[in-house]
């Protein structure tokens, strides 16, 4: 209980500090902030651009990540070893007891069973939180396309469509979007059960339902929120928030994971030779 309270305290503190870190020298009026949000021809906020999830620092990629290790330049040898630009706010995942035990087992195995280690597509919202790789968004009045450098996967999301009646489960599920005021709301269902939600071992079932909310609050920033529901493994909804920061000048590049993936063979050797690696 004490630990949960601590986490909440840290989350609150982290949020307020992040806001302070981004505050301009003079407070901008809400109208000025609104005006700073680029808008498409149809008047909706335009999410088009290259973004870095899991970050709260404005600026070009090399400046925002300088010395902190998320693609950091390493110019500062005394930079902290942790990933300082990571900005992901959540609470402990509300897994059912049997499922929590499975998550804990993956944690104790240090994530050796991570599906992404086999170069399989990462799940949602994990894709939005991986700060090492950029995400390109292209928006039209009819659809929003997310192109992820990580694993080179994409989501082409129609606006104001319905989910098809008979969805074959997939890694990234079936996404449809709608506008709720200035927030793009993406409803995702039809997932297979082969991905992790975000942290180590965070598995789910095919009953997974994710609702993402993208709100471009300024030129530089999208507030991202994912509400995760899975009645087969969770006791209730689990919400994760992060910010995505605009990275002018960054291009999404090729990432062919299967090219030279030596890690599964290393894991097999660890297991075969009985090398101690558990926590």
């Amino acid at each position: 209980m004490m630990r949960a309270a601590l986490i909440v305290a840290f989350v609150v503190a982290g949020s307020s500090m992040a806001i302070r870190a981004q505050a301009p020298a003079r407070p901008a009026s809400s109208a000025a902030v609104q005006a700073a949000v680029p808008r498409a021809a149809d008047g909706k906020p335009d999410l088009t651009g290259v973004w870095q999830g899991g970050s709260n620092r404005p600026g070009k990629w090399e400046d925002a990540n300088n010395g902190l290790g998320v693609g950091g330049t390493g110019k500062d040898p005394n930079a902290p070893p942790s990933l300082g630009s990571q900005q992901v706010v959540t609470t402990p995942a509300p897994y059912q007891p049997w499922a929590a035990a499975r998550v804990l087992e993956s944690f104790n195995k240090r994530g050796i069973d991570d599906p992404a280690a086999l170069c399989l597509p990462p799940g949602v919202p994990r894709l939005a939180l991986v700060s090492l790789f950029p995400i390109e968004v292209v928006q039209t009045p009819q659809k929003v396309v997310f192109m992820y450098e990580y694993m080179n996967v994409f989501r082409s999301i129609p606006i104001t469509a319905q989910h098809p009646p008979d969805i074959v489960p997939t890694y990234l599920g079936d996404s449809i979007a709608r506008w709720d005021g200035d927030t793009l709301v993406v409803d995702i269902t039809g997932f297979n059960d082969k991905t992790w939600l975000t942290g180590t071992g965070t598995f789910h079932s095919e009953a997974l339902h994710v609702i993402e909310r993208y709100t471009r609050v300024s030129r530089d920033q999208i507030d991202y929120e994912a509400t995760i529901d899975d009645p087969k493994v969770l006791t209730g909804p689990w919400t994760i928030r992060t910010t995505m920061m605009l990275r002018d000048g960054t291009r999404v590049q090729e990432y062919v994971c299967a090219e030279n993936n030596q890690d599964p063979a290393q894991y097999e050797r660890l297991l075969k030779e009985g090398v101690s690696f558990r926590r």
Partner: protein, 143 residues
């Protein structure tokens, strides 16, 4: 550039969650954070490959034995964003120093972090220790 304000509390919250994967595999299963290693040697090869690049260098230990070390690191896209240039930054024959952590399997395999060049400048070749292995706490409450 002034040092940006550092949202330390947010990082703590993240660490307690069990960090979202930043690379595609677990650091902690394969490499041992308790075995840091610093090797100075002559570069023999760099493999710019996905999902991870590899840096090889010949080094001589205190007893005069020569060994070829293999350091795992970032994928090519992350290296380029970190400041590495494929044909410029390091070439075979260059002498560099690499800091990282040794593989649990032993031998001369390690995970790289910081590379120091002959002129004293530095670049990261790989992510920090603890990447992708769940951080310091699981995503669920421990009963």
């Amino acid at each position: 550039m002034p040092r940006p304000l550092y949202p330390a509390a947010a990082v703590v919250a993240l660490a307690m969650l069990g960090s979202p994967a930043r690379a595609h595999h677990s650091f902690g299963a394969e490499y041992d954070v308790n075995q840091p290693v610093t090797i100075t040697g002559v570069v023999t090869k760099i493999e710019w490959t996905n999902p991870h690049s590899f840096l090889f260098l010949d080094a001589v230990d205190a007893t005069g034995n020569k060994a070829n070390w293999k350091f795992e690191g970032y994928p090519p896209s992350a290296l380029s964003r970190t400041g590495w240039k494929r044909e410029v930054t390091v070439k075979p024959g260059d002498t560099i120093t690499v800091f990282g952590w040794r593989a649990r399997l032993g031998g001369t395999l390690a995970h790289s972090r910081e590379v120091t060049f002959a002129d004293g400048s530095k670049l990261f070749f790989g992510p920090p220790a603890g990447t992708g292995d769940g951080g310091t706490a699981p995503a669920v409450k421990v009963p």
